[in-house]
Amino acid sequence: MSQFPEPREAPDAAAEEALVRRAQAGDRDAFRSLYQKYQDRVFATAYRIAGDRETAADLTQEVFVKIFEELPGFRFGSRFSTWLYRVAANHAINKASETARHARLNERLARERPAAAPADPPARDRFAGERLQAALAGLSVKLRAVTVLRYLEGLSYEEIAETLELSVGTVKSRLFLAHTTLRELMEDEVKEGDR
């Protein structure tokens, strides 16, 4: 969608498929090219869903090992990136669900400054952004996952549905619920700040 400033660049599908096929045949350089291309996105997705940098780094390396081991069986039923996102998102969701860390996460994300802000936003927006980050951490893992994939990774509803193996209707209803929950959480933050 054009209103989102971080659309994913359209991958050169044919070149990527050729790279994947080389990696399937055991070409380590080809696989290295693939993980170098996607490691930042996988890390960002894992970080937003799972909640902390160290866990996200562990998840990222686990995801690429899993992809590497299962690559010979990949039959191009979907795009490689969709498969990769599916593995990454589900791995992060499982990890985040296993460890009920919402309370600690809430504090940590609110404290932690972004590592590389592209521009210095106005103070009001920065404050709102920080409130939103804290609220995002307060969402359930399932609601956070669709929010991250939609707005931070720029996936379409259809791509999210394929990634998380849900219907498009379920994706939309989860996203709507995420918005209403975020609104409540952000309002709570404001009320607490006013006390």
């Binding site: 780094a57 972004p114 980050q133």
Partner: protein, 156 residues
């Protein structure tokens, strides 16, 4: 949907409304509802703001050593143990030779083409007497052919 449509219907299609994915007539009705309902108008403002803020959040930077960590993890993975590129050169050729050798030792009688069965028959030939010969049917010629006479008892 009309200007007084229930809020539930409006909210159900809120994302499509904001994505401008609704049919024009439905979009107009939704817009009318938004103008007439303070609660839904507030929700629209909030979701618009959230979307703008979420899209503006910077992507968290990955640790600098992430690539090295992935490389180390791959090196100790199960698949890495196979190292197919080293295989394909001479190891694979040696393996193929071993398979052939085993086949020669164990499987030759079964691999060889089946011998044609040969039947010894007497053939009565008009004016030529009896011919004793080897008769060999084959797939190409199921009725067989007389290969060579063993004993000829031809009429003079």
């Amino acid at each position: 949907m009309t200007a007084n449509a229930p809020c539930a219907i409006f909210r159900e299609s809120l994302l499509d409304y904001l994505d401008e994915a609704l049919h024009p007539a439905v979009r107009e009705a939704a817009r009318a509802h938004e103008r007439s309902c303070a609660g839904c108008a507030g929700l629209v403002r909030s979701v618009r703001e959230q979307r703008a803020l979420l899209s503006a959040l910077p992507r968290p930077a990955a640790p600098e050593n992430l690539g090295a960590r992935i490389e180390r993890a791959l090196a100790s993975s199960r698949r890495a143990a196979f190292r197919p590129r080293r295989w394909t050169a001479w190891t694979a050729a040696a393996a193929a030779a071993a398979v052939v050798a085993i086949g020669l030792l164990a499987g030759i009688p079964r691999l060889r083409a089946p011998e044609r069965s040969i039947t010894v028959i007497d053939v009565e030939l008009p004016d030529r007497g009896t011919l004793l010969g080897r008769f060999a049917p084959s797939y190409e010629n199921p009725t067989g052919s007389l290969l060579d006479p063993l004993v000829s008892n031809e009429n003079p």
